[in-house]
Subunit: 305 residues, 2 copies
Amino acid sequence: MAHERIRPWIHRTPVLTSLYFNTRFHAEIYFKAEHLQKTGAFKARGAMNAVMGLAAEAAKRGVVTHSSGNHAQALAWASRIHGVPCTVVMPSNAPDAKRAAVRDYGADIVTCEPTLTSREETVAEIVRQTGKHLIPPYNDERVIAGQGTAALELFEDVADLDVMLAPVGGGGLMSGTAVVARAIGGSAINVVGAEPELAAEARESLRTGIIQPPMPPVTIADGLRTSLGDKTFAHLQQHNVTIITAREESIREALILVYERLKCVVEPSATVTLGALLEQPDLIRGKRVGVILCGGNVDVRQMMK
Amino acid sequence: MAHERIRPWIHRTPVLTSLYFNTRFHAEIYFKAEHLQKTGAFKARGAMNAVMGLAAEAAKRGVVTHSSGNHAQALAWASRIHGVPCTVVMPSNAPDAKRAAVRDYGADIVTCEPTLTSREETVAEIVRQTGKHLIPPYNDERVIAGQGTAALELFEDVADLDVMLAPVGGGGLMSGTAVVARAIGGSAINVVGAEPELAAEARESLRTGIIQPPMPPVTIADGLRTSLGDKTFAHLQQHNVTIITAREESIREALILVYERLKCVVEPSATVTLGALLEQPDLIRGKRVGVILCGGNVDVRQMMK
């Protein structure tokens, strides 16, 4: 249903294959190219689904979120298309480029202190004063359903996948992917989430049964520095998601390989999956494997300096 | 005919479009993604066509070329597929990565001094001693015919192009593109070659009617530092190719834009076309435009340092 709803607005992104990777891993790997999605990341799917699910009255009052990343751009983009007023709360230390991208989509920006407390208080204040509707970046069933449409398309394009991999940050993409993978592949498919060794909150949350707070924000996979929410945690538990991790040097090596071999510009968060596979290639040997390349929003100017 | 011959071995590369570029230029721009070609560049087309055109006896003796760039890899690749012995003469200062790439395709490498004279003498010596067949990087009708198949596919995929752009180095790609564009589009189509302002040998050669020697090798578009050969010069004259140039900062800005907006990893030589258009956007305003993105072989490790 999410897919029917958002399909007219999103790209059906291509599925990429590479002789190099298939040979190296002795596997058939299918990369879902969400870095070519609208706004440069899968986040367009969840944001669009959430905005289109608003009742008329709520749509009129508008939406608000706090994010300095891809979700902010995605929500601003989806809101503009449907004429919904959008406010984004961004920390005062957010990069100018991200600020500009959100503003270019016509959203209002409210600046807050660079702390989680300040962000949440600022959003709560906006909700109280304006009646705007909060659309969180991941801990939201509408957002999760939207993110799951990437995996849905991949299953439509490639039959009989044995393994499905996605990165795990807040868990929105992973939750949506797991729901779809279990619905289509049942218990036979290995549903795997990858996260940086330096931001292994999901692994620790599943191991302890308690949602773990964010680890210090040091990994280069900056989109994955968040911890799970209660809804995404429940999905990961319920759908039996296995978590694997990647060291920083593996994420970086995988990033270089994707640039060199797939000739794709992706962000480090998108290569945590492949990075983890470099460390444990046996996981996919002889298998048909789906990998969601989640986004391509890197600071190219900085990278090429 | 070249296309029929090489089609089973090459990729039919996709044609990419971008709302960003179309809006910015008020044009419809179709990018032919030759960075996704086998060996990472259009050079695979010409090399394959030349190798497949060899008589049985010549194929048995093998081929030789001098190149430190994409042609060397392409010839090594094409030769391996058809079981043709291949020798590549490379200067002693060629980067290890390029050396390794050629060796990985199974070619023999002969090292020479890093001068044009030494290269040519070394090749001549090999031809004399072994009877190997020289396949030059661009000044060769078989190579030119192969390179033209990129434009041919673009015309098949996109009807009614008003302008066709390709970069000009030695002129192999430009010659093949011009032959095809005139055969299909007649005199109505504007056939445009782009080169760096710092390596404008083709412009000066056409202006003076005499092939100009290479300018100092300083442009970041390192694939375009060569001058025309007699055959490519004749094609450019005969097919009425207009030359436009790009300043270094325009090539660089175009490179960043292709990474940011198309999310494609291309080499600087591939964005000289777009760089020149940034300087003279009126050339394509309101037009349907084909642009050949020639290759994607950049040193990613170096870039990400």
